[in-house]
Every structure is written in C-alpha cells, then in structure tokens.
C-alpha cells in the first residue's frame, strides 16, 4: 500500500477511537465508531488473498450490525430522556440494547463467533491492532454508561465469555486463534467487574493490552503463526523462548507476574460485594486458559519439540528489530509489586 495512504488510514483509526473516547454527544460517538470501522478495513486487508478479504467482510458485517444496534439504543435513549449527552442511559431497554451492541463490538459471548475467524484470517500485525486497539473504544463507552447497565445481562455475558474463551482455546494449534480466545476470556474478566468497580476494568484493560502486545510482538519476531513453528524458536533466538514462557504464564494469571494483579483485584472486589460463587467460578474457568498457555510453553520453552532433522539447523536473514519489546516484556511480567499504587486511581 502507498505509505502515505497507509499512514492516513492508520491515523484515521486512531482518530476514530479518540473521537469515541472524548465526545459528549452520542451522535459523535457513533460517528467515531463508524470512522474506526471504515478505516480499519484496508488495514485488515493488507495482503490481497481470499482469506483476508473474507475476514475483513466478517468483521465489517458484525461491527456494522453492532453500530446499528448502538444507534437504535441512542435513539431510544433520546426518546425517553430528550437529550444527547453521555450520562447513564435512562431507559432499561436502551441500556440492554446498548450493552448488547458494545458486547458485539468487544467480542463477548454470545457474540464471540467472529473473533477467532477474523483474527485467523489476517496478518499478525493486523491481528495485534484488532485485539488491542479496537477494544479501547467500546470499553470506554461501557465505562461511561456503567451505572445503568443491567447487571444480570452483563454478568451472564462475562461468565459465558470466560467459559467460551477457556474452552474454545483448548483445541487450537494456530497462535492467532489462541490469542483470539484469550481475548474473549479477558474481555469477560473485564466486564465482570465493570458494574462493581470500573477502575479495575481499566486496570485489566491496560495490563491485558501490554501482555497481548508482548505476545504478538514475540510471535512477529519469530514469524510464527502455529504452535509447531513457535516450537522452533529455540533454534532461531533462544532468548525468546524464556520470554515467551514468562509472558504466557503472566497471561494465565500466575502470581509473581503482573497478569495476576487484575485477577486478584477483580476477585477481591467481587467478594467485597458479597458474591462468592461468581469469582470462584471465574477463577476455576481461568484455569482452562492457563492450560493452553502452558501447553504452548511446554512445546516452546520447556522441551525441545520433536522436529525433522533439517529443522534443527535453521538460518534466517537478519532478525526483525521490534521496538519497545524489552520494556513491554518487563512491564508485562514485573508489575505486581506496584499493586499498592492502585490507590492513586481513585
């Protein structure tokens, strides 16, 4: 793609999300979502093969439907409250429709079916943008309408997302699909605590974005999209095997690493609000996630996965230089001791 056009379109993706996050008029928010959707389509279609085109079409159709539902909720809200300002949504019907629309945009169950298929069909860099940047805009709107969200619907969607994200990722060997199911599960964790303490949603989003960025950049660095090719990293760059181990265990939520912080805070917040069964279920279902992360670490870092003999003598052109990879790795694994600093977020 022409670099100037590519820069313009990428800047428009950023502009769309910025407009969503900083607008106070519902119509501008809708315009921001549409601008974001329109501009990300050519980024998803960077390579012109039928698979990327199919993935872009699926993404466009689901997100356009979600935008239509959002517009309907906005108009119902207008009818019942007479104003266009972003505050809590005054009508329960509008609130339910808006929550469903934003859940479709995020990829929460039962609207999660597009996430693995779209993520698998596009390149690793586009998948990175899809799974991290595109979650910011809907989550910011959910944050702003959080006082009026119907608790039952949101918690049902969250718990089902954690379940689907864990169970669905079990049978996958393609790394992009694994990251997609991981995204579904993390979105479930984020929305579960949204009604109780929205600050923790933002904390979880921040740490999730850091960890997903790190994982995708490690995949891009070793140019691997399947478990099998990831298992050959001991031959290409042995250091990244350790880094993949640490980051994957952080994503699974293991204690001394920073991925534990959001899960810990969320469980604490939920139990403070006297719901015990829910965080227990969520923590148990997060184990499914941990299982397939550990399977990846087993094949990549902990064992030398069986391969043919000519795979053991690899050579490659000069390694890609990924900026910001070392700081990201440090941040996605060592942030746990900073947990007391969360008190400044009040």
């Amino acid at each position: 793609m022409n670099p100037l056009i590519f820069t313009t379109i990428l800047m428009t993706v950023l502009l769309g999300t910025m407009i969503v996050m900083m607008s106070s008029h519902w119509l501008m928010i809708w315009i921001g979502f549409e601008m974001n959707l329109l501009a990300i389509i050519p980024i998803l279609m960077k390579k012109y093969n039928p698979r990327t085109m199919e993935a872009s079409t699926k993404y466009f159709l689901t997100q356009a439907t979600a935008s239509m539902l959002l517009m309907m909720a906005i108009i119902i809200n207008l009818m019942h409250s007479g104003q266009w300002t972003i505050t809590k949504v005054f009508n329960p019907t509008a609130s339910i429709i808006m929550t469903s629309a934003l859940a479709m945009k995020l990829g929460l169950t039962p609207f999660h079916f597009w996430v693995p298929e779209v993520t698998q069909g596009i390149s690793l860099t586009s998948g990175l943008i899809l799974l991290t940047w595109q979650k910011l805009a809907p989550m910011s709107i959910l944050y702003q309408i959080s006082p009026s969200i119907n608790l039952n619907i949101l918690l049902t969607m969250a718990v089902l997302s954690i379940l689907v994200g864990g169970w669905g990722g079990l049978n996958q060997t393609q790394l992009r699909k694994i990251m997609a199911y991981s995204s579904i599960a993390h979105m479930g964790w984020m929305t579960a605590v949204l009604v109780y303490n929205p600050t923790l949603t933002m904390l979880n989003m921040l740490i999730y974005i850091m960890m997903t960025l790190t994982m995708f950049m490690l995949f891009i660095h070793s140019s691997s999209t399947t478990t099998l090719s990831l298992s050959h990293t001991w031959n290409k760059t042995p250091l990244t095997t350790t880094l993949i181990l640490i980051t994957l265990l952080s994503m699974g939520g293991l204690p001394p690493l920073s991925g534990f912080m959001p899960k810990w805070m969320i469980i604490q917040e939920l139990t403070k609000n006297s719901s015990i069964i829910l965080p227990t279920l969520m923590a148990i279902m997060a184990l499914l996630n941990l299982y397939f992360y550990m399977r990846l670490t087993y094949s990549t870092s902990l064992t030398m996965f069986p391969s043919t003999n000519n795979m053991k003598m690899k050579w490659q052109f000069e390694t890609k230089r990924i900026t910001l990879l070392p700081p990201l790795i440090v941040m996605s694994s060592l942030l746990l001791p900073l947990t007391p600093m969360l008190s400044i977020l009040d």
């Binding site: 329109l38 389509i41 009818m79 019907t93």
Partner: protein, 175 residues
C-alpha cells in the same frame, strides 16, 4: 387520510427498504432507493423541513444515486436478478412485507402498543402544529447551527467522507 399521511409514508418507506435489502440486482435496488428517497423527503416535508427535503432530492437522489445508477449500469450482468426470479429474494421480500403488515395491523387495531415504546394507536402519528417557533423555521436554523457551532461535526464528517473514498479505492485496488 391527510392526518395520517406520515404513517402511510413511513409504511411505504419501510416496504421499499425491505425491497432493496432482499437483495435483487443493484439496478433494482437503486430503483427502490429512489422511491424510498422520495418518500423520506415527503416525511421530512410533513414536519416542516422543506429545505432538507429538497436537499434529499437534489443531492441524494439527483447526485449520488445518479452516479450509483451509472456505475451499476456499467457493471451490470446480462440477466439481473429481480424480486421474482430467485426464490430466496422473493422469500425474504415477502417475509419483510409480512412483518410490516402485521406491525401495521397491530398499530391500527390495538389501543395501546407497548413494544419498545408506547404507541397509542394511529393517533400518535398525526402531526400537530405545536406552537410557534417564531419568525424563522427550525430546520434552516439547524443547518446554520451546523456550520457555526457544529464546525467540529463538519470537520469530522468531511474527514470521514475523504477517508471513505481512500478506503474504497484501497479495497478495490487489489494487488
């Protein structure tokens, strides 16, 4: 009938939307879009917005739809699909038509309909002259406000249209 003209026009509006979303060939979709544009213009005019209605006719139908019609005529196939040629298209059209008819009957018959918001029969659709807004008409003031207070909206929509063109060119360019 004149008191319920908005209701009748909105029913025709929905039926023509069903007509093109049941996906016949784009030429026939464009034909139905002309009808829906005209009917939409009528709805806006009934609320006193004569300027905006004329804008719909001039810019939307006379500008954009004409260009759409020409490009579709260039790219059309030898036997374009009509609503009756394909079972699926006809089925979807009839389904949409049936749902609209049922909704109309429901609205006409019952005293109060509470689906998402409350109708109270067809009486809700009649337009009353609710007081004087002064010397000026509201919709012209709205257009003026768009270009003065709403400058940011103009910038954002203008940028969206520009990026829309860039995106479409990029997507259809191929390799």
């Amino acid at each position: 009938m004149m008191t319920y003209i908005v209701f009748i026009l909105s029913v025709i509006f929905v039926i023509s939307f069903v007509g093109f979303s049941s996906k016949p060939s784009p030429i026939y979709g464009g034909l139905v879009l002309i009808v829906s544009g005209g009917v939409g213009c009528g709805i806006i005019m009934n609320f006193g917005g004569s300027f905006l209605g004329l804008m719909v006719f001039l810019i939307y139908l006379g500008g954009m739809l004409v260009v759409f019609g020409y490009t579709t005529a260039m790219a059309t196939e030898q036997y374009p699909e009509v609503w009756v040629s394909n079972t699926t298209v006809m089925g979807v059209f009839l389904l949409g038509l049936l749902m609209e008819v049922m909704l109309v009957l429901y609205v006409l018959k019952s005293e109060e309909v509470g689906v998402v918001f409350k109708f109270s029969g067809v009486g809700d659709w009649a337009i009353y002259d609710t007081g004087d807004s002064g010397v000026f008409s509201e919709e012209i003031m709205g257009v003026a406000a768009l270009y003065s207070y709403g400058a940011w909206v103009v910038i954002v929509t203008g940028w969206s249209l520009l990026v829309g063109v860039l995106v479409i060119l990029e997507v259809t360019r191929g390799d």
